[in-house]
Amino acid sequence: MDIFLQQILNGLVLGSIYALIALGYTMVYGIMGLINFAHGEVVMFGAMVTITVVTSLMNAGVGLPGPMLVLVGLLVAIPACMLLGYAIERVAYRPLRGAQRLAPLITAIGLSIVLQQVAILIWGRNYIPFPAILDHETIEIFGATITKLQLGIVALCLLIMVGLLVVVEKTKLGRAMRATSQNPAVASLMGVNVNTIISATFVIGSALGAIAGVMVATNYDQAHYYMGFMIGLKAFTAAVLGGIGNLGGAVAGGILLGIIESLGAGYIGDLTGGFLGSHYQDIFAFAVLIVVLIFRPSGLLGEKMADRA
């Protein structure tokens, strides 16, 4: 029982991080209908910049408490990633609007390679440890343990998701975003500046990515130039699982994927009589994805699209 609960908790932490990144994918997809393959790199930059800021503040002898240092790091990383997101859209996507669907995919992949190499130039090829400034004090819940840090991660994720939902549903910007996603041409006739809205989408998604990157780095105590790849892949899987383009779907898909993964990793050994071990964890994400899409071809919460001629 306690193993079960423990895995659920672990999955919840992992899943809320996935959800945060998945929101970045799904927002861009909802508005432009394309996969932002460079989003994982934004997540990586968020983690790296924060670690750099925190370490240099510590070296300079700034005597702030741990969480404050991370906050300062985030305050640098978020604008940096927003700028990066804006640049990605301007360089890789805007010039190719209206071109064949695969062209922006290739530019995004090219940019992804470039960003990884830039990260190597700045931070090197090795794993960078996250400074041990956050306490990993644990709390016990019904026999399962969770660190306060992880609890904070889940809480912050939920807060951000609710905030994003409010922005999209209640504000003028959100209304313009929804209008653009339904029909950019008509939206622009109604006075919506489509270019600004698209930029805003990338910027907001990148800010979420930066925060998620820091969460990943604190949760695993390290960061790496290649970290954006796998986490981006999983988050994208989560977005598709929930029904890409749908904000609620991204959250549901992310949390579901996190829980399935950690449950799978915890139980696969018992289920198969020791034949398959926990290193098959990654298979779960994809196996579940394939099964879900066979039965619901547009994701869990995705709308059924009519075939358009």
Binding site: Q100, T107, Q117, L121, T237, F286, I290
Partner: protein
């Protein structure tokens, strides 16, 4: 008319001669490592042409194509190495591997028949990752793939008792393995090229295009969408499987590392950058994307030494950086690809005007 035929014949003979002497010219001027690069370029041509059937002709975005390459490579390795101590000759294990890859193509194709666009893309990506994870982990409790260590000492191709794995002397010429494999690869590449050309202009090829442009209208015209979709997956996988088997025997060693997502993406980039759906374009894309990084490798280091007197940037790093930049710039300058078909180029022109 006769002029045209003569011209075609002349081009054909000229390219045949160039291709026949290429490894010796390159080998004696630039060194044998470049012949090796050309061998790899041929492998990638086969892979890109296989993926082009799925993506270019049938319009199904496949991000897990490398899985079929892996299936071909692993089946050759398991049937021709000390790992299981089975040593089947290549003319059995390569067709077997190709057939198995085609079966995996059907295996992937069947459940995803209903999926469209990016949903299809992500499922194929997941399929590719699943195959790789299995190859990485199927070393316990029963050791099938030898896990992350990979399989070593894979048999070289043997033709009439002559092993292509060792250098031999013919009429005073020193024939290296890279030279001999070149001709094997060239032969099979030509076979694949002929196959895709014939397919493109056949009923099946036209059915693929019809499905790509509008699957509902195609179905209304009486096309069996399910069958032609599956056929696209299977035939694409087939040529991936052939390339995989050749890769295994050429390298003598394979491990799951060679079959990651990045590799799938590179092959997709070859197809798109070359000119999706246009066979000469795809071949050009594969050759350019294989050779460009190698040229950069040779150029960047010395150039830095000359310009700055020291290594400012790690050459490997600078090489990938430039490669990424080149991919972005090429796509921005020519979104239709380097050498698109006339039809596609015209479509792009229209789209720009409208």
């Amino acid at each position: 008319m006769t002029m045209d035929t003569n011209k075609k014949l002349a081009v054909f003979i000229a390219s045949a001669i160039v291709l026949a002497v290429l490894p010796f010219v390159v080998g004696s001027t630039l060194g044998n490592s470049w012949v090796r690069t050309i061998d790899f370029a041929l492998l990638y041509v086969m892979l890109a042409l296989g993926l082009n059937i799925v993506v270019g002709f049938a319009g199904l975005l496949d991000l897990g194509f490398i899985a079929f390459y892996a299936v071909g490579a692993y089946s050759f390795a398991l049937l021709g190495s000390p790992h299981f101590d089975i040593h089947l000759p290549f003319y059995i294990s390569i067709p077997l591997g190709a057939g198995l890859a085609a079966m995996f193509g059907l295996l992937l194709g069947t459940p995803v028949l209903k999926l469209k666009g990016d949903y299809l893309a992500i499922v194929t990506l997941g399929f590719g990752e699943i195959i790789r994870i299995f190859m990485n982990n199927l070393n316990a409790p029963v050791n099938i793939t030898n896990g992350p260590q990979g399989i070593n000492l894979i048999d070289p191709i043997q033709v009439g008792g002559v092993s292509l794995g060792k250098a031999i002397e013919v009429f005073g010429f020193n024939l290296n393995p890279v030279h001999m494999y070149y001709y094997v690869f060239l032969f099979l590449t030509v076979v694949v090229v002929i196959m895709v050309y014939r397919l493109q202009h056949s009923r099946i090829g036209r059915a693929w295009v019809a499905m790509r442009e509008d699957s509902i209208a195609a179905a209304a015209m009486g096309l069996n969408i399910r069958n032609i979709k599956l056929l696209a997956f299977a035939l694409g996988a087939l040529s991936g499987g052939v390339a995989g088997g050749l890769f295994a025997t050429f390298q003598g060693f394979i491990s799951p590392e060679s079959f990651g997502l990045l590799e799938s993406i590179m092959i997709l980039a070859m197809v798109v950058l070359g000119g999706m759906g246009h066979i000469p374009g795809v071949i050009l894309g594969a050759v350019v994307l294989t050779i460009a990084p190698e040229i950069l490798r040779d150029v960047i280091g010395p150039l830095q030494m000359k310009a700055f007197g020291k290594m400012l940037v790690d050459p490997e790093n600078a090489r990938m950086l430039l490669f990424g930049v080149a991919m972005v710039v090429m796509m921005l300058v020519r979104p239709e690809g380097m050498w698109p078909s006339k039809r596609r180029a015209a479509e792009f022109k229209d789209a720009k005007k409208g």
